[in-house]
Symmetry: C2
Subunit: 411 residues, 2 copies
């Protein structure tokens, strides 16, 4: 075993221990695994991360909303920012988010120990409230870094009627004004679990992310006339069910033309009143269409309207306001560099879009951004069963380390 | 105004008053309208009906399960039985069931006052627990009359863990063994609101019922594989939604071939877990197919299996056990007689099947049975808004009276 291999072994050992230690902070007194932002669980993980950062020799600080930073000052003030979020969804897992923070801490610490003061300043970040699991506002930490978090958002309430502002203050934050956007960031890098089954299916250890897909979501409601299933002849009915079925079939027909870059999901189907012997008054379906290509999302909007026009005869069809997030392209040069580094290290990798949302989609709109995926066993995430194999953790950390070295020491 | 018209006027006045008085018995202390069997509300309506029957000069008695009878003994022991049920569904209306009891009491009383002792014995009945609104067993009173109520059924529990047997005993019933089936019934006649919109749509005052439609019901489940809507490419999905939509469309295509005598309803659509951003693990749909023709229900069973065979590729399709009640033909000679009587009285009428279930479908399997419908405004039933216009009540009561006269005095 040579020196590099020994270091890898030590890094991996540290990482698996740290994943375990961080997981303990998310276990609530009621037995549920959930690390929501600005809670006791969050305070505990902040203490743990602060300790890790301090041990590595970083300067540790928090910003106004509670993003936690560990900093190795470099020759230049330009910042290479590396990390991910520290919160989890309710009944979430021990990898989503926190893995990107822990690998960043270890990679930065290990590089700093080996190479000393970097060329560019290197900062590790553990962002807060990415998951929107307690408050409506998601990607809160990233939005604050970018300077586009509005005072208005701080009025959001959680289920117990506690506002975001109160929660922040209770955790000791918000002692300074909100950031107007950091001017010193040169590049953001995030390692994250894939949360899907593509890498596992393709038997690859690494995903190099080209873009975060855009998301179109809405709800469609088909209005009929509620009536008794037995006493209303077919000719006297206004039954929304066959119309909804036709709409669904035709929407999937459209989506299946673009199977390589577009996905379409109808996760919710509901009838009202929902009795077996009553013709429904209405059927409501959820629509979730994602694509790495902006033009596909525009087309989807047209298709939704077109189907409404074609199928709306006796049944009224209402499309709720369509929310559309555009796809975010990550740094192309970074993708090339990561590809070269993965090849040089003999890793198996896949260049791919991200179907899930990440801090990178917010930060990537303002700063150069890249993402590295490691596989999720069985594609499972947002679930206590989340798992990534040690050999894949190792590959992810190696590639992250190599990329940080390139950006901060050789940039 | 001649004597017959005067009598009609008095009968109608009595009826509308009695509907109002009976409605008061169903109003619970919590403000809900619900007259479940073997409750305080039921005891109250029994007291009221007993009073009406006694006032008319009937011999009043209850059987073992609490069916209430009022009897005018005739020359012969053969019984013409007329009536309907006295219970309502939760949040039900003031016509469903009780109208058939009150019109029977008044028609019998008025005929007896005019014509004296009948040829055949005339009994009015207010059956119990037709609606299955408190216990699982429905048509309980009718099953008891026919002698096919099993001791086993008395173990049914309501939501509070009170058994049918205990509830019966608490109301003072079950002091004698269950009936082994009445041998003295010659003919059963039931007047009921239509509970649908056909008569209103066709502008008819009277429905003469030919049959109670048969009912096929089941549940079909489509099993996919739960996954993240964003991170699972279409090619790696097992999404049950498009398959369910195709199944629904093709089932309705089949049903629409037989629009004149068959109805098909899917009142429930459910996805699990039911989140907009999760590919469902399963879709469940309810199936309710009714037809006056037995062969149509057999064909429906085959179609359900055939569609499963054709659509079951990557998605497993499970059809729950299919429950099938065969259509019940009512007495054909009675239909002819009712038609002649309606024509003679210059009433507008429609000869039609009943899409809803009634005591007549149980009793009609054992004894000659006929039904008369009166219109439901807007087809509304099982709802406090149930309403039938006075002129239609009048037509219904006139036809019922004429038919009872024919059966009991001229039979």
């Amino acid at each position: 075993m040579n020196a590099a291999e020994k270091r890898e072994q030590t890094d991996l050992q540290w990482l698996t221990g740290a994943i375990e230690a961080a997981a303990q902070t998310g276990l609530r007194p009621d037995g549920e695994y959930w690390r929501a932002t600005y809670t006791k669980e969050d305070n505990k993980v902040v203490d743990l991360l602060r300790q890790y950062m301090t041990e590595a020799g970083m300067e540790v600080y928090s910003d106004a909303v509670g993003n936690l930073f560990g900093r190795f000052p470099g020759e230049s003030e330009e910042v290479i920012l590396v990390g991910s979020h520290r919160d989890t969804v309710r009944q979430g897992g021990r990898y989503d988010g926190i893995l990107g923070v822990l690998t960043a801490i270890r990679a930065a610490a290990s590089l700093h120990a080996e190479l000393g003061r970097p060329q560019k300043t290197l900062e590790v970040v553990a962002t807060c409230e990415e998951e929107s699991s307690r408050f409506l506002t998601s990607y809160l930490g990233s939005h604050h870094i970018c300077g586009d978090l509005q005072e208005e958002s701080l009025k959001d309430m959680d289920k117990n009627g506690i506002s975001l502002k109160e929660a922040m203050q209770a955790s000791g934050y918000l002692k300074e004004p909100l950031s107007r956007g950091r001017q010193d960031i040169d590049h953001f890098v995030e390692l994250h679990i894939e949360q899907g089954g593509v890498l596992e299916h393709e038997k690859k250890q690494i995903g190099i992310v080209t873009s975060i897909v855009g998301l179109l979501c809405t709800e469609i409601r088909f209005f009929g006339h509620q009536n008794h299933a037995g006493t209303t002849p077919m000719a006297l009915r206004k039954d929304p069910v066959p119309t909804a079925a036709a709409y669904i079939s035709r929407l999937f027909d459209w989506a299946r033309q673009y199977m390589d870059d577009t996905v379409c999901t109808i996760g919710q189907l509901r009838t009202l009143p929902g009795s077996a012997n009553v013709i429904p008054e209405s059927v409501t379906i959820s629509i979730d269409i994602r694509s790495a290509r902006a033009e596909r999302l525009s087309e989807a909007q047209q298709v939704l309207q077109q189907l409404k026009k074609e199928l709306e005869e006796s049944i009224d069809i209402q499309i709720a306001p369509i929310e559309c997030e555009q796809p975010v392209l990550l740094d192309e040069e970074g993708v090339r560099t990561l590809t070269a580094l993965a090849q040089a290290a003999g890793m198996s990798y896949q260049v791919m879009p991200s179907g899930a949302g990440h801090d990178s989609q917010v930060i990537g709109l303002k700063y150069k951004t890249n993402m590295i995926f490691v596989p999720s066993v069985e594609g499972i995430s947002h679930n206590p069963k989340e798992y990534t194999k040690p050999e894949d953790l190792n590959a992810g950390m190696k590639l992250l380390r190599a990329y940080i070295k390139k950006l901060a020491w050789q940039g």
